[in-house]
Each structure stands twice: as structure tokens, then as C-alpha cells.
Amino acid sequence: MDHLMKITDLNVVFHIFGADVHAVRGIDLELNKGETLAIVGESGSGKSVTSKSIMGLIPNPPGEITSGEILFEGKDLVQYSQKQMQKIRGKDISMIFQDPMTALNPTMKIGKQIMEGLIKHQGLSKHDAKERAIELLQLVGIPNPEKRVDEYPHQFSGGMRQRVVIAIALACNPKILIADEPTTALDVTIQAQILDLMRDLQEKTGTAIILITHDLGVVANLAKRVAVMYGGKIVETGTLDEIFYNPKHPYTWGLLSSMPKLHAKTDKLLAIPGTPPDLSHPPKGCPFAARCPYAMKVCIDHMPEYTELSKTQKAACWLLDERAPKVDPPSTIGVGGEA
Amino acid sequence: GSSSSSDSGKKSGASNKLASKQELKFAITADIPTLDPNLATDTTSTNAIDMTQSGLTRMHNNKFEWDLAKGEPKVSADKKTYTFTLRDQKWSDGKPVTAQDFVYGWHRQNDPNAKPAYNFLFASVGIKNAAKIQNQDDSLYGKYDQLGVKALDDKTLQVTLDQPAPPFFYSILSQPQFFPVREDVVKKNGSKYATSADTMLYSGPFVLSDWKKGTGWTYKKNKDYWNAKATKLETVDFKVVKEQGTAINLYKTGSIDEVGLSAEYVDQFKKTNASEMKSALESGTFFLYINQKTNKNLKNLNLRKALNAAIDRDGLVNSILNNGSAGSDYIVPKNFVAGPDGKDFRSADPDGFSAGSASEAKDYWNKAKKELGIKTLKLNFLSQDSSSTQQLNQYVANQIKKNLPGVTVTINAQPWANYLKLNQEFKFDLAFSGWFPDYQDPMTYLDMWTSKNPQNTTGWSNKKFDSLLQSALTGTADQQKRWDNLLAAEKLMMSEYPIVPLYQSGHTWVEKPYVKDLSFPSYGPEIDFARAYITQH
């Protein structure tokens, strides 16, 4: 298949205080044109680092991409210089960050912040860029955009700022939009507005979205495909339905069953005991082994290979090995098995 | 030329031809505070007034010369009335200097409303009624029109004294306090009078042409001065520089032609620019007050002798001061004033009245200890906190401590304003002080030690001394007797060591070889450049 982007065996290390944090440990990922890929996973599992690697924004020092390739339209972005990356960023690939309160420069007018990218990538004149900025503000649903282009971020509410951030990201019609927890800092009612907006925009522009979140509700709402990360690795990937209705990895099970269901009665949540691994001393075997209720001796020292479960779904778990005992997913994942 | 000892014999290097550009440049530590003779109390102001204005006499090379007075006045038989005839001299606005200007100037000095600061000189010299006019309790207080001065006509000034004139009468007339003042200019300028170059009139060898406050000023030759031919310099430039190091740098770069040297620099210049170095003895005498009024121990003569003997004057003048100062055991300085016989006052006792050396100091101290029944003594040494006295304070304190075992000295260095207060309130045991003359007579050094004199902050009192000075004060008719009385007074005083004389100040400076006839006289203008000139270089 002809992927828009293909990541293979990406490894990112941060060198800090005499320790090396192996934030991303050999992940593979593909993204197709116009699709929405969600990356979910525990905090610190390497989601943001992965997305920053794509943007070429891993701070160096202390960060370093030690190996792997990120093919974007056939070209390896890892090998690109900063200069070359600057031509990609904002134009072909753009990014939305988690906290709209801090993602905008407090001393620069909103309009100018939108215009910068336009001027840089599309060579628009100041005047045209401003016109376009107003259009964009309109597009993301900011009322009265002619007036508001000349305002400063602090004059906007959180939800509106996130719209501005989206407008900046979409300014040059990027092929890929990376949204790193775009709604985590927002209230549910505002979150709903933003999710709606993103969906609308994607329909209009056909941009592929990488959505990073740990809110499975958001994933269910927006994504087509899901990758589940744990301990710097992708432990399972599949289509939305596969992941929600036929998950194969115990971590995915845990994730799903630790969430209460709004529309069903849950007596007791299934808690995953313990805490995620310390990535400065990553475990030799499966990163989830220490917290896995089904952990076997093999899990501790050996990293499982991916098992292709379908054309679209694969998972890395020893339970999927034919030698492993058969285990049923817990009933608490609620919707499990229906798919 | 008693001032610049190294002046003669040195003609090497520079030629003696006048340079075409007659310009002399100086650095000075303070701006001119005021040009008003009524308010001038400091050397810079006095020097500026001296150089730009004229009185009846002018000091040059420690001797007075007739300036606006056309030679000797007519003296009455009782020697109390002096009638001066004035020379033709114009103010810088073209009007002639008149006898009335003198009368106004003198009256103004005795008018409390004009806030005169230094008018006690009128009483010192004995101008008729001056003492009474200045005394708040006297019926004549403030009635300056009763002063013994009168303009007989535009060119004739009559001065009346209370008693026959003292020998320093003519020399004191060279002081700004006795200068003529133009009433119309004073009235016109009000509070701005004499605060800038153009709110003042000039009648001296120079005019002040440019006075930039805080930066410096320039004198230009006064072509209208009656004796202008004697003035060779065209311009004299003063820059205000407070840092000694900076002044030295200016000299090294040729931006100024003269710079006074503090001790540190003397050695350096001795090595590098010995030929440019000059030295002169000044008339300042420096001493320690010994407070025997509130410190009973110090009433003991042996203790006072011990203190006198304890301090090594040579070390002080050679190592600490190192500027041509001379160690002293006397009160009236050398080379300051000559008596009726033409001999210097000091020639009678050239070395003064030494109490002995360090070893004798110990003997005195031992005796004193026995007499007083003490083993140790704590002395509070009051001094000034200027950077120039720092070293001296420490040296003196250390000498006493070192040579009189058991005596401890704490230095109390204070700013001048506070020093004065503590000194006058007798809040000290030893206090470092100095005295510069008000007039050219030994009296200016001696009368301060009389019992009632407020300057006598020692508590020492001697009837005999008081009467000797009293007869010198009134007995101005017999010059020789008066002289002998003064000599006897000094001797008498020094036999009781009420103070510790330390040194007579000197001035060491470097000047460029092309500068000639520049002097630092011991009485009169502080820097006398009126007759100086520049040779080709």
C-alpha cells in the first residue's frame, strides 16, 4: 500500500543526568491519506516524543533519534537537516499542542501568528496573508474575525485559543495534522465543539490526522485506526472497531476496562495495578509484564513479536503465541466480543 | 623666593625665550565655591579673588607690594590713621575703582545682613570699632558706618585704627576681605552676585573668562590691569579633578603643567621625573591637641612630654607625608615671617623645643605612671577621615602605642564637620589639627593658645603666656619689644607641652620644565601664577 507516511523502527533516547531515557523503542507506524490515526497509551509511553520526532522537533540535546526512519512521501525525514525540515513543518505536516493557553505567543497578535506560516510557505504578501488569516478564523468558527485578528491571545478564551491553534496548523493545508491531546485541557462542552470542528475540517480538507490522547471517548469519536503505546513501544494496533471490540493485548484490555461506562452499569472497575516502567531502565521483556495479570515467565525477559491478527490488526503479546495458555479477555471491557 | 627652593640654578633643558603661547594649565580638587569676598573662606575662592581683583596691596613671594595703593600711605603721628592714595585702575566694566568702592566693601564685611563669614580679620588688625561692630552685645553692633574707613575723595582712602598698626597691617590688606566692592553690581545681581563669571567685576591681573561649574575655569590676562606688563600669561586654565591618580595621568599626558604629589607619587616621580620635581615649605603647622581639661591624666607634664617624645617626626615626614614637610617641635613655622631685625622668627630656636627621643619618652612615661599611679592609659585620638590623613592617623597612633608601652590609642576619624564639634566639646584626648595663618604675623599662631581663646581646646592656661600676648597685642608701637614678647611666649608655651607639634607642611609638585616663576608661597595666594611665564619648548 502506498502510505502517506511510514515510520519504521524509530528509536529516541534522551540523555539526562547520567541516565538514558529510552522514550521510544522501535516503533513502526503507517498513516494513509486522509485517515485519522489515534495513538493512545499511558502517560510517558512516548506518544508526544513520537509526534515530535515526525516534526523534527526533538530537542537536541538532550534528545536524539538513535535509529529508524520516518518516510514521508517516500523521503526519510530523519535524514533531513533542520533547514529542510523547516520547509516541511507547517506546510506538509503541522501540529496542534495540548495546552492552548501556552501554545500561543502572548505578545504577538493572533493574526500575525497565523500569517507567519502563510508568508513563509505560500509566499503570500502581508495583505493576502491577513485576508487568509481572517478566512481561517472564520473557518474555525471564531465570530467577528476581522476584529479579532488584531487581538492578543489573552483576549481569547481557552476554547477559542485552541481554535486559533488549529487555524495556524491548517493554514497551509497540510497533508498531515498531528494533534497532541488537543482537548485535554478543555471542558467537555468545549471539547465537543473542538472535536466537531476537527471532524468538519478533515472532511473539507482531507488532511490525515494523527490524534494523540488518552481519552478513549475522544478516540471513539474521531479515529479510524488506533495504535496503543506502552513503555515506548506500540503494543497493539488496529482499526477502531478492532481495538474497541476485539482487543488482544492485556494492556488494551486494562485500558478499556478501567474506564467506567456512561451507558452501562459497572460494578467495579478493573484497575491495572502498579505503575509504568522506568524508561531509563527499560525492561528487557514485555514492558507491560510487571503489571500484567497474565504475565508468564517468558514475558519478563523476552520481548514478544507482533502477531498479525488481521490485515489491519496486530499485537505484541506472548499470549498470542501458540504455546501460551488460552486467556479470555475480562468481561469488564464491556463492549468486548461484540465485534 | 623662599618658596621654591629648587628653583634657582636649574636652567637646564628648556630655553629661556618666551613661548608664543602663554598658557598654563592646572588641575584642582575643588570648584570655585564663590567669588564674593564676603563669603569666601577657602583657599580656592581666595585664590580666585586674589588673581582677578586687587586690594591696596598684593602679596608676591611672601612680601607685600603696593597694588591699588599708590605707595606708602600718609601715616598720622599717633600711627593710627593711614591715608592711601589710589592708583588709576578700571573695573572690567570700564568704570574706575574708587575709594568709595573700598568703603562699601569694608562696610559690607561688617554688615550682618550681608552675612560676612570671615570678617574677624578687621578686628584682628584693629580697624577702628570693628570689634565692637561685630559683637552682638555691643551697642555698636551692626553699625558698620562707624567703621574706621572713609573716602576722602574718589582716590583717597582714610583708614583709622584703634591703636598703632601691627606689623602685618599692610600684608593683611592683600586679603579679599579688604577689597573694594562695587555697590551697584551687588545690588543689581542680588543673590546671583559673584556666582558666575559675569556677575562679578574684575580689577586684578586676570579676569575670569569662563567658569564651567564642576568642570573648571579659565583666567585671561587683564590688559587693563595697571601692572599688566608684569603679567606674561595669556590664559590660565583650571580643571576640577578630585582624584589624585587622574591628575597624575593628566600631567603625564601633558594636559596639565603642574600637579601636586601625594606621598605615594613622590617616590615614583623621584625615579622617573626627578628634574621636574619641586618642593616648598608651607606655613601650615600641624599638631595634636592634648586635652587636659577633661582628661585629668593629661594634666601631668611628664605624660605630655612623653607623648611629645614618643612620635618620630622623621619617619612621619619622610615616609608617610614624603612631600617636603618638615618635622616640627615648634608652633610658629619656618620661613613665614621675619622680625624687625629681618631675621626669621624661627632663627632664635631653629629646631624648636624637642622633648627628646623615643627612649626618653619611656622615661617620661614611667615618671608619669608613678606620679599618676596608673599602669595603663587609653587615649581617644580624634582626627579627620579624609583619605590624606588616614595614614598619618595610623602612624601617630602606632607610634604612641609602640613607644609608650601600656598606652592604647583608638582612632576616631570623623568628617570635618563632626570633627569640629567633637573638638570644641572636648570629646577627645588627642586631636590632630593644623593651622594656617590668617595674617602674616606670629600672633596668628600664638594667640589661639591664650586661656580664653575658643581655639584653645586643650584646657591649658598660663597667666604669663596670656599677659605676654596681651602686651604684644596692644604694644604695637614698639615692634622689637613686641617681637621679643612673641618669642618668649612660644618658648614659655613649649616648656609645658600643651600640644604635640608634629610637622610644618610642605608642598611637593612636579611642573613641566617650561614653566617658570610659578610659586606656592606660604602667605598670600595659594598658587601664585601672576608673574609666571612659559618658555619655548
Binding site: V298 | G245, E264, A413
Partner: protein, 335 residues
């Protein structure tokens, strides 16, 4: 990874017994926030070296004045202005006893070697320099301690109680800050007897302001932190909150600020000495030594050099150490 697959045997596919709390185990020894900061501080080479240098200077300030048995006022003008000389190290130009190519010791016929030379009164500069260091350090210490006390108490009260109290106290600070430093200090020194106490009071008069501001800021920040609220909901008294929670948590900031106020006190004393308002002779401080030497800067530069080097070292080291401590206490860097 494929290669290792060979070792994977069937028996590995049995449930591993990880124990209940395996995942909750914390590795390594217990580290308090203090130890953690200390550890980070020690690994900061610059800061650590600075600390050692400061310790050395303090050591010499204590023993240095007694090295040669001179006291600070041991004058002898016959040995005035000798350049530094260290027997055995004469081959180093700085310690040869020569000045402008002349062997001054020979010239003045002096046998003893003076390591830092002598001053104009022939006093041993080694003794005076270390004595001066001692005085400067004492000034800095007193000033800093008092600064800390006043500043911490003032800022603490102002920040903790807030409201009207804070308002009034802040107005007072504003007024005090409205008067320039120099003015305060000169007025104070003029009114008081000059000397150590006056200098200390003068430095104090203003230096605590920044400490008060910092502590107030910390208090404002901390008093609404959840752990303080938690303590309040547990019924803790103001005293307990202040001493158990607020002060221990602001102490990092206080220490850091202290590190910066020590050198500024030393520096300020030097400035006072320069304008003639410093320590009184024959006592010396680094500032007064530099000032005395400054008169001789062009003639005998060595008289300024050593006090200058020491004061610079002190300032540099305190600054670097302060920076190091700031990093060490920086919660952002803690893992």
C-alpha cells in the same frame, strides 16, 4: 530479537509469580529532597569547586592573620612598600621581591620575605589581607544573617497573613524602596558611629527588601498549595503551617538568595570603603585594602592585587555556588 526466540521454551509460558506489589516497589535507597539537592549540587563541578574555594578562603581568613605573628598594625616604615616575595619561589616574577627590575628588599636591606609585600606603613599585607578577608566575611555574615531574619520574617508575615496586613507592609516596602540605597546608607552612616556596626546596619537597611519580596512571593505561592490546604483541613495551627510547611519549602529560595546577598554585602562594604565610609583603621577589610591600594594602583599595583583577587574569587564563587544551588533546588529538574 529473532535469534533469542531459539531460547524460548515451552516451560516459559507459565504464569509468572510477580507478587502483589511488584509493580509498587521503589528501587534504591530513600532520598530526601535535601539529599537529592545535595547530590545534584555535588555533581555540579563549578558549584562544588566554588564551595571548596570559599572554604579555603574562609580557612585562610581564620589562620592567615596568625601566620607570621605580625598583628595588623605592626608598622615599620623602614620596610614600607615592599613587593611580594616568597623565599624559594623567587623565580616566579610575582614573588621575586623585585619591582621595576629593582630588588627592593636589597635596596631597603630587608631580610624577611613578605608573601604579599608590605604597605606604606610597612605593615605585612599577608596579615592585613587575611584579616581584611575575615572582617569582610564577618560583615557579610552578619549582614546576611540579619538580612535573612528580617527579610524572612517580614516577607513571611506579609505573605502569609495577606489582606490588610500585606497591603500596609507592602506600602512600607514601597516607601523604603523609594529611597535610593546610597542615600539610606549615607544618612545612616552619618548618624551612627562609623565602623562595623554602622556598615552592617547600612547594608541591612535595604538589602532585606529583596529577601522580603522573595519570601513573600514564596509564601503567597505556597500558602495556597494543596499540601498546605491539606494541613489546614487537618486543623493545623498557623505556627505548624509556617514552621512545618512554609519555611522548609521556601528555604531553598532563601538559601539561594543568601548566596547572592553575601557577595553583594561584601561588594557594598568595598564601595563604602571607597567613598570613605567603610571600616576604620587600623582594622582592614577587603574593601578598605582595595581602597588603600587603589591610591597606589599605578605605583605598587600588588597592594590592590591580592585583596582584589580574593574579593573577586569570593564574588565569583558565591555567585556560581548560588547558581548551582538554584539548579539543585529547582523542582523542575528533580526526577
Amino acid at each position: 530479537m529473532t535469534s533469542s526466540n531459539h531460547d524460548i521454551t515451552k516451560d516459559l509460558f507459565t504464569l509468572a509469580d510477580l507478587g502483589d506489589t511488584a509493580a509498587d516497589k521503589i528501587a534504591g535507597e530513600s532520598v530526601s529532597a535535601w539529599k537529592d539537592a545535595l547530590r545534584r549540587f555535588v555533581t555540579n563541578k563549578g558549584a562544588f569547586i566554588s564551595m571548596i574555594i570559599i572554604a579555603l578562603i574562609v580557612f585562610f581568613a581564620i589562620v592567615g592573620p596568625h601566620f607570621f605573628g605580625y598583628d595588623i598594625d605592626n608598622q615599620d616604615v623602614s620596610r614600607a612598600n615592599l613587593p611580594p616575595k616568597i623565599s624559594g619561589l623567587e623565580w616566579i616574577p610575582a614573588f621575586s621581591g623585585h619591582e621595576n627590575g629593582v630588588d627592593v628588599y636589597k635596596e631597603k636591606n630587608v631580610k624577611t620575605a613578605y608573601w604579599f609585600g608590605t604597605d606604606q606603613l610597612g605593615r605585612d599585607l599577608w596579615t592585613r589581607t587575611w584579616h581584611g578577608t575575615q572582617i569582610s566575611l564577618i560583615i557579610a555574615l552578619i549582614a546576611t544573617l540579619a538580612d535573612v531574619l528580617i527579610g524572612v520574617v517580614y516577607g513571611g508575615i506579609s505573605g502569609y497573613f495577606g489582606g490588610m496586613t500585606d497591603n500596609v507592609m507592602q506600602r512600607i516596602i514601597e516607601i523604603i524602596a523609594g529611597i535610593p540605597n546610597l542615600v539610606w546608607i549615607i544618612l545612616l552612616i552619618l548618624i551612627m558611629q562609623p565602623g562595623l556596626l554602622a556598615i552592617t546596619v547600612a547594608i541591612l537597611a535595604t538589602s532585606w527588601l529583596s529577601m522580603a519580596r522573595i519570601v513573600r512571593g514564596e509564601m503567597l505561592k505556597l500558602k495556597n498549595q494543596e499540601f498546605v490546604l491539606a494541613s489546614r483541613t487537618l486543623g493545623a495551627s498557623d505556627r505548624r503551617i509556617i514552621f512545618r510547611h512554609l519555611i522548609p519549602n521556601s528555604i531553598g529560595m532563601i538559601i539561594i538568595n543568601t548566596m547572592f546577598s553575601v557577595p553583594s554585602a561584601i561588594f557594598f562594604e568595598a564601595f563604602l570603603s571607597f567613598i570613605g565610609l567603610g571600616i576604620r583603621s587600623p582594622q582592614s577589610s577587603l574593601g578598605s585594602l582595595i581602597n588603600d591600594g587603589y591610591q597606589m594602583l599605578q605605583i605598587h599595583p600588588y597592594q590592590t592585587l591580592y585583596p582584589g583577587i580574593i574579593i573577586s574569587l569570593l564574588l565569583i564563587c558565591f555567585n556560581i555556588m548560588g547558581d548551582g544551588l538554584r539548579d539543585a533546588f529547582d523542582p523542575k529538574l528533580r526526577r
